[in-house]
Assembly symmetry: C2
Homo-oligomer: 228 residues x 2
DNA sequence: TCAAAAGTGTTTCAAGTACACCCATGA
DNA sequence: TCATGGGTGTACTTGAAACACTTTTGA
């Protein structure tokens, strides 16, 4: 069986790319430089080729905005209303990515005139149903992050418990109690203390932790289940 | 803008239809009577028309196997591996339905030679990646049913607490403690006691309960969140 | 010495767990 | 009277929640 690298013209992918900066959750949006949505903000998206899987296509589209590898990327929903696109019937598969902004270098793709991080609470009006897609995605993330250890993807490799707490506060949109949060995390035995501590801070240096998938898998085998 | 009722030939829908019978979870499968999968078991599925939304298409496909209205139906995942279909590139959207088997009359569609309920633990080998789709769907259901009050869709309108408990035991694949389960449900104030009791049983007749979406919505407004 | 965040301790209350137990009914 | 499921009570343990407190560090 042979497949061409032409695109499937009824099916697209849109990516919600989340980042975490200054204790706030952000989303990466592009401004279209050509086409029917020219001048409008949108989620980074693109078409699927006949010879690539959905996941591969999403990854290709994601890496058109950046150079980083090993990004957390997952499908979350398909949007299939008849009139969601302007000129023809297009069904779109929603993916979301969790990235560490520090390591994330932007480079606008060929059909894009601008690429900007927006605070999750100040997202502009976007083309098509992209605001609706983002909303659904954010809700999905809020649930997901409470049961799966995926939040770490938004932080640097080594992070403090306060960073992690502020991340959860930003995603869940509520304050958490510091002592209780620390105790909970420590009790899990999930985070691996690094041998380093914070540097260049004007207060007591905090312990840095790492998330190790092997440790997590090992805990899972023993019946552990993650929960915030 | 005008759309034809021709089908989108790269995109299909497959439905996992769950039922509950004899304290066990079942899935409805069809045996293809023609086409490339002739003679093979499969999830009920079909194509999407240019002029219908995904949800509408899923509902149409579902009601091709039955006559009942008001069925719980929801999308859960898209399967987009390049070689998942045999003859060409087809991406499929997975939907799942929860139905009350008692009220569910089967009628095989035109291209189907057989329609059968299978116990979730004795599902035959199916065509394409349908076993993988079912597995993913079952896992999805197991998580979902613990946080959303959707299990009731598998039971008759009026049901006993034991029926509900056995339903959860079948889905979660573990035994639950009867007194604790009852207390938990009663404490929620979610289930509405019917004025009837069980009949024709050779033991003490149990209270029958109903699930009322209005009651649920009202509880939600007050900050309630469902959980088993 | 002050601000800022690290980190610990303790009390209280709600919820989960594991049972033992009695009740009602038809065969 | 026995089996079967309906339904209640209770003691124990765990964990969430709230908040007061001490420690370390650079400016």
């Amino acid at each position: 069986m042979k497949f061409s690298d032409e695109i499937i013209d009824t099916l697209s992918i849109d990516c919600v790319i989340f980042g975490f900066k200054n204790s706030a959750l952000s989303v990466l949006l592009v401004k279209h430089g050509e086409g029917i949505a020219k001048g409008h903000w949108a989620l980074p998206g693109g078409w699927i080729q006949y010879n690539e899987s959905l996941d591969k296509a999403a990854y290709r589209i994601l890496t058109a905005q950046t150079a980083v590898k090993n990004i957390y990327l997952e499908q979350f929903y398909v949007f299939g209303e008849v009139d969601r696109f302007l000129t023809k019937r297009v069904i779109t598969v929603g993916y979301y990515a969790l990235v560490n902004i520090e390591k994330f270098e932007l480079h606008a793709g060929p059909t894009v005139s601008d690429v900007v991080w927006f605070d999750i609470n100040s997202v502009p009006r976007m083309c098509f149903d992209h605001n609706k897609i983002l909303k659904k995605c954010f809700t999905h993330l809020q649930h997901r992050v409470q049961h799966e250890p995926i939040g770490f993807n938004l932080l640097p490799k080594k992070f403090t418990l306060l960073q992690l707490q502020e991340l959860y506060e930003a995603i869940l949109e509520k304050k958490l109690d510091k002592p209780n949060f620390r105790r909970k995390l420590n009790k899990m035995n999930l985070l691996v203390p690094s041998h380093e501590k914070q540097k260049d801070v004007s207060h007591r240096a905090a312990q840095l932790y790492k998330f190790d998938k092997k440790v997590y898998d090992h805990l899972i085998e023993k019946g552990f289940s993650f929960g915030i």
